[in-house]
């Protein structure tokens, strides 16, 4: 099908939520990587999913609105996903790269509304590393409505991701979830935060398609 797009509000910012496939039941929500946007069509690796397949453009990406003067943080962009949860109810998340990081965070923050999360390779999976990199502070010209917002690229590629911080969110998920394995790592690239998550006793590793099937 041709994707269908609707717009949700996060504060006063418009977020583009695309429906890539219709269906009954719990939606699969795709979160793209840093600097990317939602796919135009349903990826083949979602074919085992019988429910709706949705894809969100993060703030400053794709068809979503660009905020004035940046201020991007992964924690702030959790509220993008939360806007979808408020609108659609429980979902299963597949996050690519940066979307995997936000997917893990929001799974830990909204445990009753995220029914499983798959962490997969993609742009922005590393972030700034376990400790902040040397500060790079620069003022960019106002970018208007162009996506991806240069401030998103700047700020979301340098955010520190300490492994123990990631594990806090793993604990939040595992403490609340009624699924045996609510976090599945399918990514091959393993920055420190993701290596720590994958090594946690409550987390399993599966190829992407099997991971999605495990939540179907």
């Amino acid at each position: 099908m041709t994707r269908r797009t609707e717009f949700l509000l996060n504060g006063s910012l418009r977020l583009a939520l695309h429906t890539l496939a219709e269906g009954e039941g719990r939606p699969l929500l795709l979160l793209h990587g840093l600097g990317e946007q939602s796919p135009q069509t349903r990826p083949a690796w979602t074919n085992s999913w019988n429910g709706p397949v949705l894809a969100l453009d993060f703030t400053g990406h794709g068809e979503s609105e660009v905020p004035v003067s940046g201020g991007y943080t992964p924690e702030g962009l959790m509220s993008d996903v939360d806007a979808v949860l408020a609108n659609r109810g429980p979902v299963t998340i597949v996050g690519r790269g940066f979307g995997a990081w936000v997917g893990l965070l929001v799974a830990g923050a909204r445990t009753s509304l995220v029914h499983g999360v798959v962490l997969f390779d993609g742009s922005g999976i590393v972030g700034g590393g376990p400790q902040p990199p040397t500060p790079y502070v620069n003022v960019l010209p106002a970018s208007g409505s162009v996506t991806p917002d240069p401030y998103a690229l700047l700020e979301l590629s340098r955010d520190p991701r300490p492994p123990d911080y990631a594990l806090d969110y793993v604990r939040f998920v595992l403490e609340d979830s009624d699924i045996e394995h609510p976090i599945v790592v399918s990514a091959r690239i393993r920055p420190d935060w993701l290596a720590a998550v994958a090594a946690d006793i409550g987390v399993i590793e599966l190829p992407l398609e099997q991971a999605i099937e495990s939540f179907a």
């Binding site: 509000l9 996060n10 504060g11 006063s12 910012l13 703030t59 905020p67 004035v68 003067s69 940046g70 201020g71 991007y72 943080t73 992964p74 924690e75 702030g76 959790m78 509220s79 939360d82 806007a83 408020a86 830990g108 923050a109 909204r110 400790q131 902040p132 040397t134 500060p135 790079y136 502070v137 620069n138 003022v139 960019l140 010209p141 106002a142 970018s143 401030y151 700020e155 340098r158 955010d159 520190p160 991701r161 300490p162 911080y165 806090d168 604990r171 939040f172």
Partner: protein, 308 residues
């Protein structure tokens, strides 16, 4: 609750001599200045939930000693624009935009609390911006909050996450609660227990706006204390050790003040830059420059004397 009396005075408080604004990538930040416009510049950066007019007594004292004092409101604070997104890095970048708009030459920077911590980050990345740095109780250390264990820290993080997301869901309907001048001052008192009611009422008249329902703080209602993500206080010490400029740090040792990082002299001293000066006062609270304005102003002016 409209009221006719909309002014309060405070001994030594002086409105800015000049006001203006700065553009930070399309976001307007409100700017205030005191003193001779041709005097050497000292820029002051306020802390979280404060605004530049909290320098209304301190800044004139520095200005009267021959300095041009410039201070701006952080995004979402005071008279600056409310932003769609907030974050530590964005604040740091706003400070850069402000400083670059003030001078192309290195200037003296002073930061209080969160503002001081953010200047530490900025100066590690942009050391040529400053010719000296004064930090008023804005030196987070890894030893802060030693009584919080991992379980409690996780519980607090989880509660903070949930409340933050809930607040953003309700963002469109959030407003600051209206009150009288006295009511707003009373509500702020728990954050500033050592500051006088007279001062807090004065702050209302410069940090809140009045409408048909009463006074409301100008700060964006979506903002809340905390919410720093994975940020660790100890990371700031790396930035402190990296400094290579005249440095004065002033620590409050009052442990029961609800604000501040509670760093102690021994936490910070090993990370002081060469020649750095550190003062510690166990009888002055976190808002040192407001609680003991003359004393702290004299301390700062003495430090700055060779730079005149």
């Amino acid at each position: 609750m409209p009221e006719t009396d909309q002014t309060r005075g405070f001994p030594g408080a002086k409105a800015p001599d000049r006001t203006g604004s700065i553009d930070s990538s399309g976001l307007r930040l409100a700017l205030n200045e005191w003193g001779d416009p041709d005097a050497p510049v000292i820029a002051m950066v306020h802390g979280g939930f404060d605004f530049s007019r909290t320098f209304d007594v301190f800044a004139p004292m520095i200005a009267d000693a021959g300095w041009r004092v410039v201070a701006w409101d952080a995004r979402g604070h005071g008279d600056s624009d409310h932003a769609h997104l907030y974050g530590w890095a964005a604040d740091v970048r706003d400070h850069l935009a402000a400083i670059q708009s003030i001078s192309s030459e290195p200037i003296v920077l002073l930061g209080h609390s969160k503002g001081g911590g953010q200047l530490l980050d900025l100066l590690d990345g942009r050391p040529s911006l400053a010719r000296a740095f004064v930090n008023l109780d804005g030196l987070p250390s890894q030893f802060s909050s030693p009584d919080v264990n991992d379980r409690e820290r996780r519980r607090m993080r989880r509660a903070d996450l949930a409340s933050g997301l809930d607040r953003r869901r309700r963002r469109a309907e959030l407003t600051r609660r209206p009150d009288t001048i006295e009511g707003l001052a009373e509500r702020r008192q728990p954050m500033n227990p050592r500051l006088s009611r007279e001062w807090l009422e004065y702050l209302v008249t410069v940090g809140a706006r009045h409408d048909d329902e009463g006074w409301r703080w100008k700060i964006d209602p979506v903002l809340h204390l905390g919410g720093f993500g994975p940020w660790r206080p100890g990371w700031s010490l790396d930035h402190l050790a990296a400094l290579e400029m005249p440095f004065l740090g002033v620590l409050s040792g009052v442990q029961d003040d609800p604000m501040g990082w509670k760093s102690r002299r021994g936490d910070i001293e090993p990370f002081l830059p060469p020649g750095g000066q550190l003062e510690f006062y166990d009888d002055i609270g976190h808002f040192l420059h407001i609680e003991q304005t003359r004393f702290i102003a004299d301390l700062v002016l003495k430090f700055l004397e060779p730079l005149r």
